[in-house]
């Protein structure tokens, strides 16, 4: 029993990170119809920048803030320099552009930072909390709360603020949004900044547990993508649920089946979802206009 609980707790922790990456995916996908393969690099940048800013003498919260703002700026640059000039390009070109961006950012990170593995101190100590015979690190609680707070914030932003509704309008129909006076270029900028910032936050929160290095991005991007897919592409609720579910599946696979194949869980899930329910758990059936 305590064994199962232990697996569940570690699954929820990992799942929270996947959920944050999946939320980032969803924001960009909604705003621009682009699946951003560089999403994982935002997580890497968040963690690495915090590590180096902290090492340079900044207190941890300030270092984290700097990292999140810097990553958001890089997200905006990605949109302005690579995505916007390629508007209307076929899917395969957009895929290659974002993969190119991800390779570029990784290459830059290994020059600007280094190729070492880095760690951050845990925010509130390393003493595990005992819960019904299982243990959980205080940092895990930070990660889980982070994911929930971000989701709540996004929910509030998208349903209760004018700006958030402008973003939703743009994702529904860009032209119509423009016609009613929404500045769609600003919406795009905002979406990329938001998405990159959320990715960076995930990086800051998880680095004390999983460590970070210049090449952690790709794996996280693929997992986050799988989470978003599982929940239903383009649906924030789905991204949250999909991310957590994927983390749990992975932890249970590692615990009961094979730790070697724990990473396979994500990809088996992708294939199963596509085979049996292509809209994902929370997706709507889409119809096409001829």
């Amino acid at each position: 029993m305590s064994e199962l609980l232990q697996f569940l707790l570690s699954g929820v922790t990992v799942g929270a990170v996947y959920a944050l990456v999946a939320l980032g995916f969803t924001i960009i996908f909604n705003a621009s119809d682009v699946v951003n393969f560089a999403q994982g690099e935002f997580v890497m940048l968040g963690g690495m920048t915090t590590v180096f800013a902290h090492a340079a003498g900044l207190p941890l919260p300030l270092a984290a803030l700097v990292a999140i703002l810097a990553t958001a700026a890089i997200g905006v640059a990605l949109n302005k320099l690579a995505i916007e000039p390629a508007r209307g390009a076929p899917v395969v070109s957009l895929i290659i552009i974002t993969i190119g961006a991800s390779i570029f950012i990784r290459g830059a990170a290994q020059l600007v930072f280094d190729k070492q593995i880095h760690k951050l101190p845990a925010f509130s100590g390393d003493d595990p909390i005992v819960l019904l015979g299982a243990t959980i690190l205080p940092q895990s609680l930070w990660v889980i709360c982070g994911a929930l707070v971000v989701f709540a914030g996004l929910w509030f932003f998208f349903t209760r603020t004018l700006l958030g509704r402008a973003v939703l309008a743009t994702s529904n129909n860009r032209l119509a949004a423009q016609l009613v006076g929404i500045n769609t270029n600003f919406v795009m900028t905002l979406s990329f900044a938001l998405s990159a910032g959320i990715g960076a936050l995930a990086g800051v929160l998880v680095t004390p547990i999983t460590l970070t290095s210049y090449d952690v991005g790709l794996g996280l991007a693929l997992k986050g993508f799988a989470g978003a897919m599982l929940g239903g592409m383009g649906n924030p609720k789905g991204a949250l649920a999909g991310g957590f579910l994927l983390g749990l599946l992975e932890a249970l696979t590692a615990g009961y089946l094979s730790s070697q194949y724990k990473d396979a869980a994500a990809f088996v899930v992708i294939l199963a979802v596509l085979f049996f329910m292509p809209q994902g758990l929370f997706g709507r059936k889409s119809t096409d206009r001829v």
């Binding site: 070109s93 552009i97 290994q110 294939l271």
Partner: protein, 318 residues
């Protein structure tokens, strides 16, 4: 005599394969050339899938992995000749592509990309983890094809590099010839029709799902043979051949050179195979530059390098 575009493409390709060795400063370049042809073969498959039919795969390295490990394992465990092992690998890849593609090709856009991505990573995971069979990440030896010895018996004595250069070149020519024939066949027309508009294609009576599946299976067979060739010429193979980055490389080569034409895609394979060789001096900047090239070409030369260059030469402008 006027050449058709198909004949012209094959002629240009054959001339390039036959004539470039005269300019090689050392034997090492045969090896690089052979590598370009092996990549060119995989990329020709991508042209059929992406250029003709407009579908995206991010997992074709999985099929290359199946082809490569078939050549390593079947001769040892099943006693097959390596050439037959390559055929077995191709059949296996084709069947896998059929199984994976059948449910997914009914969907559109990103879905195939995502599903193939998952498939490719699963293949590379199995190759890495099933050590009892594949010896894991350390790689495994591949038996000799034996053709070079046979040619020697007939009085044609080629060095290892020369043999693989010309043999891979020949394979690429055959692959390109088949792909060009497909372009004008009813299947090829169906593929191009659904690339333009799936609904329009369906309206004129094309079985869209079936046509996509055909393109997917054919391109998987190309990738598989490319993997087999790579394994046979290196006499060694590691799970990297099935890795995600290899899949990305294949698509990038094709799209960079110009995925609409066989020659363009092979040109892209040449550029991306040579780029790391040229960049060894800047090893630290390799990733940075590769990423930059990928983005710049896709933003500014959307049809790919070769079509853009050709248009410049002809001076027809935009």
């Amino acid at each position: 005599m006027k050449l058709t575009p198909k004949q012209a493409t094959l002629l240009v390709l054959a001339a390039l394969i036959a004539l470039t060795p005269f300019f090689f400063p050392s034997g090492y370049y045969y090896r690089v050339g052979a590598l370009i042809f092996v990549n060119g073969l995989a990329v020709t498959g991508i042209v059929i899938l992406t250029g003709y039919a407009g579908q995206v795969s991010l997992g074709h390295a999985g099929f290359a992995g199946i082809g490569a490990y078939a050549c390593a394992l079947a001769p040892v465990h099943l006693g097959l000749h390596p050439a037959l092992a390559a055929v077995l690998g191709a059949i296996l890849s084709g069947c896998m592509a059929w199984l994976v593609g059948r449910p997914i090709l009914r969907l559109k856009g990103y879905y195939l990309a995502v599903a193939t991505l998952g498939f490719g990573i699963l293949v590379s995971m199995v190759l890495n983890n099933e050590r009892w069979l594949t010896r894991g990440p350390d790689g495994i030896d591949v038996p000799d094809l034996g053709l070079r010895g046979l040619l020697k018996g007939w009085g044609l004595d080629l060095s290892n590099g020369e043999f693989w250069y010309f043999f891979s070149g020949l394979c690429l020519l055959v692959g390109a010839w088949l792909a060009l024939n497909l372009y004008d066949s009813p299947t090829g027309r169906a593929l191009r029709a659904l690339h333009g508009s799936e609904i329009a294609a369906r309206v004129v009576g094309v079985d869209v799902a079936r046509a996509k599946l055909q393109a997917f299976v054919i391109s998987a067979v190309y990738a598989s043979f490319s993997g087999s060739l790579l394994a046979l010429q290196n006499k060694f193979v590691t799970p990297d051949v099935a890795g995600f980055m290899h899949s990305i490389e294949m698509v990038t080569m094709a799209v960079l050179g110009g995925v609409g034409s066989v020659l363009g895609a092979i040109f892209g394979a040449g550029i991306l195979t040579l780029l790391p060789q040229a960049l060894t001096v800047f090893a630290e900047y390799e990733q940075l530059l590769l990423g930059l090239v990928m983005m710049l070409v896709m933003i500014f030369l959307r049809e790919g390098l070769l079509p853009s260059i050709l248009r410049k030469i002809r001076g027809t402008g935009e």
